[in-house]
Symmetry: C2
DNA sequence: GGGGAGAATGTTTACGTAAACAGAATGAGC
DNA sequence: GCTCATTCTGTTTACGTAAACATTCTCCCC
């Protein structure tokens, strides 16, 4: 009877509820706990008959290994932390998807933290929160304003970052922002536009800065006038607002938007004002979100291989986890090709007067 | 010397590496481990001077509590599992974002599993994987083809589902698919369209089925002809392909697409074929993704309050976790209002001949 | 100053698992 | 049949933490 009492008392006295333990299974199967463990992990051979008996007992009791105990014993959690700024942004969610998939393939689960506002303290807090969580590695998709120094990660925690600012501090994987941006601007220049305007991302964003700088540099290199960039915040609404302004000007014939959403908002505003795309204004985006090809007109844009990036991030973590490789200086770059669709064309010939 | 040796030997013999433990802190601070625990959890009062000494020691050693041990001792993980079908679909990622945010507010982290293909075995596997993970509750955003019976969840695990098929089996929270769909179809009928065509989601999807059924029923109720629905798969590409077909027919004046992406593809195809929206064909979507208002023309659609849903899902979990409430039959419904924009209008008067 | 309440701290124990070691069973070779 | 290698199984122990109980200390009151 004593065993039943023990079982029944579970959760009543002192310790919280929990399912059947390895010991309960062992008792029912008439073997030692260690043998149950061997069956459960498959680490060492067990005689077929014994194994069956144990498996039977497991099924009968609805046994599932207690992962807290297992993690405590093994010293790892088979879990990766993931910090992202806005899950919603299509690019990021693709990367996240890839991270989750790749992690699962390695037998790891992913613990996700979203940073609402990309303020430095927010990110730091998220890191604190997560790095004290039960994780074996940490992937930071976008750290935005946080600096590597401010993060104060546990020194032994494997980290992989998809943020250019962390290069040199943590292993990084990222799209070739500069190459993609230059290709976009050059494409517009090659079509015959005198210069290219830019709708930038938020001032405190690393990628936004890279794209803006590459845009400016390409114009300078080509000896073109560098107009004042428009300041956006990644949102389609911002693109729409800026587009309403641009629609009033007839000196803007080509715009490179720092992402597809702002490009979509821009095009919307131009349509509404009766300006034609690409006849009156050519537009290039950045990201190649799924809807980009179904906008009207289908959007010329720079594709980011988010899936590849997510996959590579996990690989970087796994390499640190496995071989204790020192990867601090590692920086993987994924190509960002220009996808030419129908939102770009040669400028129409017209009078050069301003207003 | 023995303590140094012990410290140095960490990770060499038998047990994996791990940071300083509560005992190391205790030794350095000259107190018992229990007192360190008290400081660390703040559960019981500790004299200010002692606390400072302990905190100092913690800082000095870079101590962070071992969450596996803590979870083992406490019997919970402060972590929620989340199963979603495609993270990428905008609606879902908004819900996920809300879940993460709400969970964090409760001090919980979120462990995410994505189900690549929504086959039954895939979902079951994901559930197995996750429910054996270190989680205290499980949220299933989209279970697709999996049936409640096939899931075989641990009976004690709190669950919340955003999938109509699980109503009655698990507590559920979902948008009012039927109400939203009926409003969309009725809106088109009210504009004067003779009937409304439908681009459905995949046949094995619950929400797709609900929307299709509501569409059909609304037509029947109005005494209208029910045309054969088009079969889509949620993707914009499918919408585009179907749109190319629809563009050839002049008997289609109004289309209700089961989501915004397919609506976008449809509009793209119509544009390309020279059919005007809404003059020739009115289009309504479902979801109200961020880009819907910036499509051309801005899309009339049914809004899903994903954020609300995500928040409510967490609340349902918390209620089970807290009061041991029995919520099996619970079903929260979130309104899905029709947002009228410019992709719908009265049909133009024209000849009734077919082809 | 003795007694006692309450606060502060220490000691013991258990959570469920798996590594390390130890012992038993089996079978092969002579 | 006996030794030895091999395979299988059992026993002991430790992972780091926190609940329960035990003890010490402090301070107040009579």
């Amino acid at each position: 009877m004593s065993s039943e009492v023990r079982g029944a008392r579970r959760g009543v006295k002192g310790h919280p509820k929990s399912g059947p333990s390895i010991g309960d299974v062992a008792r029912l199967a008439g073997v030692s706990a260690q043998t149950v463990s061997r069956v459960s992990t498959g680490s060492e051979p067990v005689k077929a008959e014994t194994r069956d008996r144990v498996l039977d007992a497991m099924r009968q009791l609805g046994y599932a290994p207690n992962l807290a105990a297992r993690a405590l014993r093994r010293g790892n959690f088979r879990s990766i932390g993931l910090i992202a700024h806005q899950v919603i942004r299509t690019g990021e969610s693709k990367t996240i998807e890839a991270v989750i998939e790749a992690a699962r393939r390695e037998g790891y689960s992913v613990s996700l933290v979203d940073v609402e506002s990309p303020s430095s303290s927010d990110v730091s807090e998220a890191v604190q929160h997560l790095s004290h969580q039960a994780i074996d590695g940490l992937i930071i998709i976008r750290a935005e304003t946080a600096t590597p120094a401010a993060l104060s990660l546990p020194p032994t925690l494997p980290v992989a970052v998809s943020d250019s600012r962390f290069i040199g501090h943590h292993p990084a994987v990222g799209a070739d922002q500069v190459g993609g941006s230059r290709a976009a601007v050059q494409h517009l220049l090659d079509l015959g536009h005198a210069t290219v305007h830019h709708i930038a991302g938020p001032a405190d964003s690393g990628p936004a800065d890279l794209r803006a700088t590459a845009w400016r540099q390409t114009l300078v290199d080509a000896g073109r006038e560098v107009p004042e960039p428009f300041g956006g915040d990644w949102s389609a609404d911002a693109g729409y607002a800026i587009g309403s302004e641009i629609a009033q000007r007839d000196d803007v014939t080509a715009v490179f938007a720092a992402n597809d959403e702002m490009a979509a908002g821009l095009i919307h505003a131009l349509h509404e004002a009766g300006r034609r795309v690409p006849d009156d204004v050519s537009v290039v985006g950045f990201d190649d979100v799924d809807l980009a090809r179904h906008l009207w007109p289908p959007l010329t844009t720079v594709r980011q291989e988010f899936h590849q990036i997510g996959h590579d991030l996990v690989e970087v973590i796994m390499r640190q986890l496995g071989g204790r490789e020192q990867l601090t200086g590692y920086h993987g770059t994924v190509a960002a090709p220009l996808i030419v669709r129908q939102s770009t064309a040669a400028p129409r010939k017209r009078r050069r007067t301003r207003r």
